[in-house]
């Protein structure tokens, strides 16, 4: 539990809430997280966009994205508060560190494979060199 985890947190704010109010809300969330010992690595206001379906009879909403690093305790706290907040239509937190690690691993493996490919070519050229030597030996 002590290990660091990375989460992606998205929440949708009521479209009638003003932009600076949304900012304040986001800052409030960040404060809770830092207060609980987590840290914010990225914040992004995705702006107002149309919802794919109505939530609480609202057709659009303001999306806010946060990237949080922490143990998971602060996520529980923030989600508890979001549940109570009427301005927040929907929230979702996703743990991303594991998926990212896997993606990095795949990328690594591919890079190593790519590095191996020229190596293969080299050994081939070495073989050619060897052949050339042989030819020379025969010539002499």
């Amino acid at each position: 539990m002590a290990d660091k985890r990375t989460y992606e947190m998205v929440f949708i704010v009521d479209p009638n809430v003003a932009d600076d109010e949304v900012m304040k809300l986001s800052e409030g969330v960040q404060k809770i997280i830092t207060g609980q010992g987590g840290s914010i690595t990225k914040t992004e206001m995705m702006g107002k966009r149309q919802l794919a379906y109505e939530i609480n009879h609202k057709k659009d909403g303001t999306y806010v994205l946060l990237e949080v690093e922490g143990s998971g305790k602060e996520i529980a706290e923030v989600e508890r508060r979001m549940r109570v907040n009427d301005q927040i239509l929907r929230y979702m937190t996703i743990r991303v560190d594991e998926d990212r690690r896997r993606a990095d691993k795949l990328k690594d493996r591919r890079a190593r494979k790519a590095a191996k490919q020229p190596g293969k070519g080299k050994s081939k050229s070495a073989a050619v060199d060897f052949d050339a030597d042989e030819d020379e030996a025969i010539a002499s």
Partner: protein, 94 residues
Amino acid sequence: MSSNYEDRDLGFEQYDRTMPRGPRRLQRRKICRFCIEKVDLIDFKDVKLLQGYVPERGKILPRRISGVCAAHQRMLAEAIKRARNIALLPYAAD
């Protein structure tokens, strides 16, 4: 009853490559575009990408049609479901 059997034969014919009988649709080899582009992670926020895999009805496009490989289809399905949860994609569209 005889018509029933004919139906079944037609079904088998799709799998039987040795006897191409009757008008068969030309099947192109399907390839996974995520494998070609070397995608390791499909982000649920990439609505433009995901929309290509949810036809009008809002359902997830099956792999047998899109040609996406199993590993990437799994990632894709997960991303689509996440996008649905936060109203980036519809659960069902009429």
